[in-house]
């Protein structure tokens, strides 16, 4: 965004685009668990190992992390005024989200390897 005269526009757009994907994925998963819950570990693992399922699940986690980052950052910027504490909390949340991202990548990919 040239000169960033409208700062926050990227976060605003990111929040809404990821929201749409998250809503669709979660609605689909709730539907799946209501109407056709996986009966056994094998069925669940085989379902998750399908390329389109693992890929959309990874996209779900990616979207969730960005969505959470924008949301939690907004809340921290609103309520935490001391600069040091704000920086520490933002860093902790950022690192925590990145760790969750790496972990979910590992979990989803390992379902494909077994």
């Amino acid at each position: 965004m040239s000169g960033r005269r409208v700062s926050g526009m990227q976060a605003w757009a990111l929040q809404r685009i990821t929201a749409v994907y998250l809503a669709l994925y979660i609605a689909y998963m709730i539907g799946l668990f209501i109407f056709a819950p996986p009966a056994s570990h094998d069925a669940w693992q085989l379902w998750m190992a399908q390329p389109h399922v693992s890929m959309s699940t990874l996209l779900f986690f990616g979207s969730l992390l960005f969505h959470a980052w924008v949301g939690i950052r907004n809340i921290l910027l609103d309520y935490i005024k001391p600069f040091g504490l704000r920086l520490a909390l933002l860093t902790a949340v950022g690192l925590g989200l990145m760790a969750c991202g790496a972990w979910s990548l590992e979990v989803v990919m390992s379902a494909r390897i077994v």
Partner: protein
């Protein structure tokens, strides 16, 4: 990512400057002290949006842990099924369902206000009320169906 034309950005920055000038001249109290802010229904829906978001954020590691366990093997899968059938598991799932449904409905309301739908006063408060009170039964029904 470029979402606005130069003209649109210029118009927005003028609006922003006008807003800042208005805030300065009117000497409004600027604070976010939740105990001193009057809370009409839209404010309660909005704070619920934040609380539900934080709740989902906090439950995320537990969710990834359970997904990991369920995919590890038949034993792990059985453990996860047992967790969801336990009292605590069911209670947390009900809370999570409320958080998801409230967050989703409040988010949809937010997007509709972005595109100038439902900004006028009676409707604005009605939709806030609808989100606040619809989230509970919808979440409960989903929880029962699961």
């Amino acid at each position: 990512m470029r979402l606005l034309s130069n003209n649109e950005m210029h118009r927005l920055s003028i609006e922003h400057e006008n807003f800042l000038r208005m805030m300065k001249t009117k000497q409004r109290p600027i604070h976010l002290d939740l105990r001193r802010i009057r809370m009409p229904v839209n404010a309660i829906t909005s704070i619920g949006h934040r609380i539900s978001g934080v709740l989902i954020f906090l439950l995320m590691p537990a969710g990834i842990f359970l997904l990991d366990l369920s995919l590890m093997g038949p034993d792990g899968f059985a453990t996860v099924v047992a967790v969801f059938n336990s009292f605590l598991g069911k209670a947390v799932l009900l809370l999570l369902m409320w958080a998801f449904v409230h967050h989703l409905l409040a988010g949809l309301r937010c997007i509709s206000i972005d595109i100038d739908l439902g900004v006028e006063k009676p409707f604005f408060l009605k939709t806030a009320q609808a989100v606040l009170f619809a989230a509970l039964p919808v979440a409960f029904l989903l929880w029962v169906a699961l």
